[in-house]
């Protein structure tokens, strides 16, 4: 039932602004894919081009390998759920859900006001529409709301009506434009779960636009991280986190943000941060700037230099500057006492945390194999690092 969706070399500009630059994506049938990026990165523009609400300057969109660019939005076998629900406020829930069916089931003249009451055959078509509306509504547990107007519904109910309107004509692809952003935190988690269930039960292809990485990472089979009109990386949530293609993805994915150090390559091919040296199979010119990055949870905490519970390759002495208790875990900021005072963000589970407070001095240590390394252009280098020798 789900279709493959491929986006080929799409470019789109608004005046002098480039919204999308040569974007390509291949989405498998039945896959749940998210477009993740900050606002203005072009993710909504891409969704609207796929829906047929915007025309691309270049490129092609294909459903099951057949181009759909020449088709109207309603002919594309897609459905769209909008950020502000976009329900028709003057229609009942039933009529909202029935609209796509009304438009597709009746010829032009048979659906015009007044005429539609007398058009032969309309009655039986209406009955079959009512049946489909009811079953879509039942699927989302809103069948008791069918006579209400959207203004009489809560945010979560409106979102369900919008989903029902999308579901009712069984499209091959669902396009969703930040559908949860107007809901409160608790409801968001609940509807997120329901979306996931819906995806499984319908088997349709889902393309989901969001700026919330938690939504993207928890819901999706694969996530396309976008920035400035380009897809930076299109991969599984796990790979995005553990093997980000470049520094921008590494910094965008993960909360709290990844720790970064700028290092300079010296004449011996080692990387020098000032305080410590590392080396590896690097082919870098002297003085080129490289970034070393480390997730906050990879940092070990110890009250003195020799008592780390696990082996560490590098260690620094640092002063705690800020402390946050998140219940099961602590997040704190610590400034190294020597060298550049760039604060490190550390995330540690409450169980393994020594008791500390702001101003305390402690030791932080980590393994080089956990570090990510990015070349001067920001691309990740797949290299094993070892501590550098002074000689």
């Amino acid at each position: 039932m789900g279709s493959s969706l491929s986006v080929k070399n799409i470019s789109k500009g608004f005046g002098i602004n480039k919204a999308l630059v040569d974007v390509s994506l291949n989405i498998k049938p039945g896959e749940f894919v998210s477009l993740l990026g900050p606002s203005g990165c072009g993710k909504s523009t891409l969704l609207r081009i796929i829906a047929g609400l915007l025309n691309a300057d270049q490129g092609d969109v294909a459903l099951n390998d057949a181009s759909i660019l020449g088709l109207r939005p309603n002919e594309r076998n897609i459905a769209m759920v909008f950020q502000n629900y976009a329900l028709y406020p003057h229609m009942s829930v039933h009529d909202n859900i029935a609209t796509p069916l009304m438009m597709s089931s009746f010829p032009f003249w048979a659906r015009q006001p007044l005429i539609r009451n007398f058009w032969p055959g309309n009655r039986s078509t209406n009955l079959s529409i009512d049946e489909k509306v009811l079953s879509a509504a039942k699927g989302l547990q809103i069948e008791m709301l069918l006579d209400r107007k959207p203004s009489q519904l809560s945010g979560g109910q409106r979102q369900r009506v919008a989903l029902a309107r999308a579901m009712v004509r069984s499209p091959a692809v669902f396009l969703m434009d930040e559908p949860l952003s107007n809901l409160d935190a608790k409801l968001r988690i609940q509807i997120r779960e329901e979306l996931s269930q819906l995806h499984k039960s319908l088997g349709a292809t889902f393309l989901y636009v969001t700026h919330d990485q938690t939504e993207a990472l928890t819901l999706s089979d694969r996530v396309a991280v976008m920035d400035a009109g380009q897809v930076l990386q299109f991969d599984t949530p796990q790979n995005l986190y553990q093997k980000p293609a470049n520094l921008t993805v590494a910094q965008f994915i993960g909360s709290p943000q990844i720790n970064c150090w700028e290092m300079k390559a010296d004449s011996l091919g080692r990387l020098n941060q000032g305080e410590w040296l590392v080396q590896g199979n690097l082919q870098l010119s002297v003085n080129s700037k490289v970034t070393l990055a480390l997730r906050p949870e990879q940092i070990q905490v110890s009250l003195n230099a020799s008592e780390f519970s696990q082996v560490v390759d590098l260690r620094v002495k640092a002063r705690v500057t800020r402390l946050e208790n998140h219940g099961p875990e602590w997040i704190f900021w610590a400034e190294p006492t020597t060298g550049k005072p760039i604060p490190l963000i550390v995330r540690a589970s409450t169980k393994s945390m020594p008791k500390i407070s702001v101003g305390d001095i402690l030791w932080l240590g980590w393994l080089l194999q956990d570090c990510l390394i990015f070349d001067p252009q920001g691309q990740r280098l797949d290299i094993n690092l070892i501590p550098g020798s002074q000689a």
């Binding site: 309603n74 769209m80 950020q83 406020p89 003057h90 438009m103 015009q112 203004s151």
Partner: protein, 296 residues
């Protein structure tokens, strides 16, 4: 404890009444009292400057229904309204729809259509008098050019009310258009996008399924205000015809009775009838359309 609470409530009530008093006073002086005076006056034969007055009861009201001038003025006003209300609503909506999508020229058209609203009707009436003149007027010249005979728009009794209505329309459209433009810009773009995905893409269906129902509150406002201002037509009649060629409208008939013939009692009765009609018409519209209107 209980009495403390009562005291607090009592004080609050007094403070509330005290704060509402100035507005209530003004409302009484400016609206309620004049209306009561009007009601009393309408039951007498008071004439401006007269030293005596006689109590007539409802005689003035009975007389109004037999007064050929007043009946004609009612008919004229109804004909005027039947042209100006649908025309003023639908044409202004059409203009608003046409210029809403313009990007650069929108403000230009807004100014053009709004100019008649800001101009003085008495001054503009002389321009219209000239335009509609049987011999000198541009409109008759144009009609003649396409082979139609000349028409005395202002002096022919069968043409005078439609001509006045045309001028009324000309003046009304700009104002209504601005209201409709405001209403149109309130419709979220997402709704049109959703409609597009649902298969509503023909211009006519977009209008009938989205634009028109979403504009119901705007239309309600426009219909009521147009209705009231059409009912109150006066200045064009005074400037162009002075009621000649059987062109009296209700307000002009009242003006004649009150300020030309000084029959204040009778004029007061006519005014009350006029107010009752406006009130009835507006209430019916509000009640009927408010149910359909959706307020987002």
């Amino acid at each position: 404890m209980k009495s403390n609470q009562n005291d607090a409530e009592f004080r609050l009530a007094w403070i509330g009444m005290g704060l509402a008093a100035p507005a209530g006073f003004l409302l009484a002086i400016l609206y309620v009292l004049p209306l009561l005076c009007l009601l009393l006056l309408s039951l007498t034969d008071y004439e401006l400057g007269a030293t005596t007055l006689r109590w007539l009861g409802t005689e003035n009201f009975q007389r109004a229904w037999q007064d050929p001038v007043f009946i004609r003025s009612l008919k004229n006003t109804l004909v005027y309204m039947s042209i100006v209300i649908p025309g003023g609503v639908l044409l202004s909506l059409l203009v608003a729809l046409l210029i809403h999508q313009r990007v650069r020229s929108r403000s230009f058209y807004e100014v053009i259509y709004f100019l008649p609203v800001t101009s003085t009707m008495i001054a503009m009436a002389t321009v219209w008098q000239f335009l509609l003149h049987p011999k000198l007027g541009f409109i008759n010249a144009a009609l003649k050019a396409v082979g139609l005979g000349e028409t005395a728009f202002i002096t022919d009794p069968s043409w005078v009310i439609p001509s006045l209505a045309l001028i009324g329309l000309w003046q009304m459209i700009g104002f209504n258009m601005i209201i409709y433009l405001a209403g149109l810009s309130q419709i979220p773009q997402e709704i049109y996008e959703a409609a597009e995905v649902d298969g509503v893409h023909a211009g006519w269906e977009r209008f009938i399924h989205i634009t028109w129902p979403m504009l119901t509150p705007t239309t309600l406002f426009v219909v009521v205000t147009t209705c009231i201002s059409a009912f109150k037509v006066f200045d064009t009649v005074l400037a162009l015809t002075q009621g000649k060629s059987q062109s009296e409208v209700v307000l002009y008939a009242i003006y004649l009775e009150g300020f030309q013939y000084f029959k204040m009692g009778y004029a007061a009765a006519l005014t009350l009838i006029f107010l009752a009609l406006i009130f009835a018409a507006s209430s019916i519209q509000l009640l009927k359309m408010d149910k359909k209107a959706h307020y987002a």
